[in-house]
């Protein structure tokens, strides 16, 4: 029997790109258009089953329970909405705690993302934003759609609905000859985003992950201080391009299926304050917290004290969402402090804010990523000790280690730093229909494929959250 490679669920693995995706796309576009939601649902469930068969039961149960409750929410039953929201939150939290304290080896695939989609759907239908339950298959396909199953982006139902291919309204009455250009246009546009994300993952993130791994191999207690700082840059860029790359690939696949492009990153390191950084970083998560937590609690429209309270709640939840180990709480706490200071202390001096805000974004945020990266207390203390060596010397430190690692990885760090600036990415997106960027993207795609062909599929980092 032919074994199915579990890497097929990894967007940057060749078996996903050349096996799962083409087979799915052919089924999606060639079979009758009214079957599309069903194909999306079946394909996504198959995708989930390959990725994490053991958790399929949990996922399907969550989908079914949410579907049942969605009809109650449609009737604006406050009790039902409270119950189902609590159900989703408890489901997510209990698995977070189980895996955070090592009771289960890993989280069920995508649980952090699909539960959030479910809550947003229930809230939208309860508040009447979604007028009427759109049908079991359509909603189940929305919860499970494979491009966003693993690590988001957390797309809203309104965007899902806004897909004229999926609903068939765009091409239902066209003959095949006229349909084909529409399909190819969607596919090519999606592939541009997909390839840009693929390149970030294959050329930058994977190599920086290797560098971060090399730093761990030395041991955090034995790295030199310059290497510790290089490591801060390395991990920050690694996380950024891994997740941005993933988001672009996921959104690109979405575009291929006719969905609108979902923006998840907007050059966060160009931000002037921490608050702005997190409006540009993992945008769909930030918007989710804004729309379903912060604003319902009153946002910043009421008193100062209430604003601070609301911010505290949002950031406590953001920390918990990433993980229940103390490092995530510290990470979120530091960000909260910076945001509150920006909002209430520095904001009165415009010049001061512009300087301090940049320092926050370019120096303090990278340091917070290290806290984010190291859940084990000893590792974190060792790392911080090397970062700020006045706490004492390290153990068997080779003072030249950073030269060795930088001489291997400088092209990838350099490329990452250049791509922090918006120029290149914006050029490709703005001119994505011209022939030159398309030709470049084609070449880029095959170079990435060749690179990826020689190595193991490196999973995306946000799969762990």
């Amino acid at each position: 029997m032919l074994q199915i490679n579990p890497n097929i669920t990894n967007f940057s693995d060749l078996s996903f790109i050349f096996r799962f995706l083409p087979i799915f796309l052919i089924a999606y576009y060639v079979l009758p258009s009214r079957l599309r939601p069903l194909i999306l649902l079946v394909g996504s469930l198959a995708f989930y089953a390959i990725g994490d068969l053991n958790s399929l039961v949990i996922f399907v149960a969550a989908v079914v329970v949410n579907l049942i409750f969605s009809y109650k929410c449609q009737a604006h039953s406050k009790v039902s909405f409270t119950i189902i929201a609590a159900f989703d939150v408890i489901l997510l939290l209990s698995f977070k705690f189980l895996s955070g304290y090592g009771r289960i080896p890993s989280l069920p695939l995508g649980i952090s993302f699909f539960t959030f989609k479910m809550i947003s759907y229930q809230a939208d239908i309860y508040s009447g934003k979604i007028k009427k339950c759109p049908g079991v298959i359509a909603v189940a396909a929305y919860f499970s759609m494979f491009p966003q199953l693993m690590s988001g982006p957390i797309m809203r139902y309104s965007d899902y609905e806004n897909n004229r291919i999926l609903s068939g309204t765009e091409d239902r009455f066209l003959v095949f000859k006229d349909r084909l250009p529409i399909y190819l246009d969607k596919l090519e546009e999606g592939l541009v985003y997909f390839t840009l994300g693929f390149a970030m993952k294959a050329f930058i993130a994977d190599y920086l992950a290797a560098m971060w791994n090399d730093i761990g191999t030395i041991g955090y207690e034995s790295i030199s201080t310059p290497l510790a700082w290089a490591g801060v840059v390395c991990y920050s860029l690694n996380l950024y391009f891994d997740f941005w790359g993933y988001s672009l690939m996921a959104a690109g696949i979405g575009v291929m299926l006719g969905f609108p492009f979902v923006k998840n990153f907007d050059h966060p390191y160009m931000a002037k304050t921490v608050g702005e950084f997190y409006r540009r970083w993992h945008v769909t998560l930030g918007m989710w917290f804004r729309d379903y937590v912060y604003i319902p609690m009153g946002g910043s429209r009421t008193s100062k004290a209430k604003t601070i309270r609301n911010l505290c709640v949002v950031w406590a939840l953001t920390g918990l969402w990433h993980g229940v180990t103390p490092n995530f709480i510290i990470w979120a706490g530091l960000l909260l402090v910076m945001i509150i200071m920006e909002k209430f202390i520095w904001a009165s001096h415009e010049k001061l804010l512009s300087v301090i805000g940049r320092i926050h974004v370019l120096i303090f945020i990278p340091i917070t990523w290290v806290i984010f990266a190291l859940p084990v207390k000893e590792d974190l203390l060792n790392y911080l000790g090397r970062l700020f060596p006045f706490f004492g010397a390290g153990v068997s430190v080779n003072a030249g280690d950073y030269i060795k690692l930088l001489s291997t990885y400088y092209p990838f760090l350099g490329a990452g730093l250049i791509l922090l600036l918006p120029g290149i990415y914006t050029y490709f997106v703005r001119h994505r229909k011209d022939w030159l960027p398309r030709a470049l993207v084609l070449i880029l795609f095959w170079i990435c494929a060749a690179f990826v062909s020689t190595k193991a599929g490196n999973p995306f980092m946000y799969v762990n959250f």
Binding site: N7, S15, D214, I223, V395, K404, L442, F451, G457
Partner: protein, 411 residues
């Protein structure tokens, strides 16, 4: 559209070339699409089947082949070596069950491209970074004049008159024992050099990331002074250097002890027998080139239990099998076998989990375990034992004094 066309071309190319150009690449249909054959071949410096077919028709096949080889010397020069590397890659791409494993392998992939070495504080405290393939501790020949040198002189005298005095016994030794020692190895030995100051101030290292026993006379990475033309009179230190193989380097300079630890990168290729045979050939060749040196074969260091239980290739059972075979190469006279795993094993007979981050290499602070093992399991000539013990005692006293002074300073 373009992507579709190219994908089709590549798949046809892979399908047609599967039994000819790509036959050396192991392929497992469940791991990757067929076209990955062509892509991987290109990445490894080869040419796609079609290109080869075309150039074959125009009659330039043989010529093109040599061209291809010279473009990518390190990779194509040795079929066995290449096969070894490929199977490691293959393992990496197939190894999908465990995330940490694939991360580690990807890392190996990166570093194997160009092994960089930092050579630190050999002559003084200055930082020297040798780019490319590093050879470490080239200054040792000068430092040699001390104890090591005089001991050597005695040996040759002894050899002439009464050869039976060459009985070696295992003993603990001082750091200076390693003044005329050479370490040959892969990335793990590179780590020993980088993170064991007490050793790298004394010994010489011919070690390189992803080194294998097959690379002994193939990989040119040891930088040595060039051989000056007859009659020129330039001091050795001022000569330009060149990159040569370990075999060539061993013809230029003599050592007293040669330590080898190789075999991890070879685990995926050949059998224990074929590996030991190749290893034995290398040992014999070193004996020819360095008749006065003793050779210490180090058993391959284990990997951690979690790696061993998940990985298809890097298994401690395979390592143990090969170590057992390697130990038979020792003759107890000139060639010895030691197994440093005693110093780093946990209760599973695997590399201790806390000692390693990537499950294969020691952490920086763990290298002292290896070095202490080497210091306590060295081979000393019976007649030199007394002198050795004296030196060791001096070193111990000196260390104690230094520590006491440091403690006093701290207060």
């Amino acid at each position: 559209m373009g992507i579709l066309v190219v994908a089709l071309l590549l798949t046809i190319d892979s399908a047609l070339g599967r039994n000819s150009t790509y036959e050396e690449i192991e392929y497992n249909a469940s791991d990757a699409p067929l076209m990955s054959l062509t892509l991987r071949n290109i990445m490894e410096g080869g040419k796609p089947y079609f290109v080869e077919l075309l150039s074959g028709k125009t009659g330039g096949n043989a010529q093109n082949d040599t061209l291809g080889n010279s473009e990518d010397n390190a990779q194509n020069s040795d079929a066995t070596d290449e096969a070894a590397r490929k199977s490691v890659d293959e393992n990496a791409s197939g190894d999908s069950e465990s995330n940490e494993v694939s991360a580690g392998d990807a890392n190996q992939e990166v570093s194997s491209g160009d092994g960089f070495g930092v050579s630190q504080g050999d002559a003084g405290d200055g930082l020297g970074v040798s780019d490319g393939n590093a050879v470490f501790g080239s200054e040792v020949s000068q430092g040699n004049a001390g104890d090591g040198g005089s001991a050597d002189a005695e040996v040759s005298e002894g050899n002439a008159t009464e050869p039976e005095t060459n009985n070696y016994v295992m003993a603990a030794v001082p750091d200076t024992y390693f003044d005329d020692a050479l370490f040959i190895g892969d990335s793990r030995t590179v780590g020993l050099f980088e993170y064991c100051e007490n050793l790298n101030q004394h010994a010489t290292f011919y070690s390189k990331v992803s080194m294998t026993i097959y690379g002994f006379n193939k990989k040119e990475f040891v930088s040595v002074p060039i051989i000056p033309a007859e009659g020129t009179d330039i001091p050795v230190e001022q000569l330009p250097t060149e990159k040569v193989t370990i075999e060539e380097a061993l013809t230029r300079k003599q050592f007293g002890k040669i330590y080898i630890m190789l075999g991890l990168n070879e685990l995926g290729s050949g059998t224990a027998e074929s590996f030991t045979r190749s290893y034995g050939e290398v040992v014999n060749r070193i004996r020819e080139l360095q008749p006065d040196a003793i050779i210490i074969i180090q058993g391959i260091m284990h990997v951690t239990h979690s790696k061993s239980s998940k990985d298809r290739v890097f298994k401690n059972s395979t390592i143990n099998e090969r170590n057992a075979m390697l130990s038979t190469l020792a003759d107890g006279e000139h060639v010895f076998y030691i197994d440093m795993n005693e110093a780093t094993d946990d209760e599973n007979g695997a590399l201790g989990h806390d000692l390693s981050f990537d499950n294969v290499h020691l952490k920086a602070k763990s290298y002292t375990l290896w070095y202490d093992y080497l210091k306590n399991h060295a081979f000393v000539k019976e007649k030199d034992l007394e002198e050795n013990n004296l030196l060791l005692q001096q070193e111990t006293e000196q260390r104690a004094a230094e520590n006491a002074a440091a403690a006093e300073n701290a207060q």
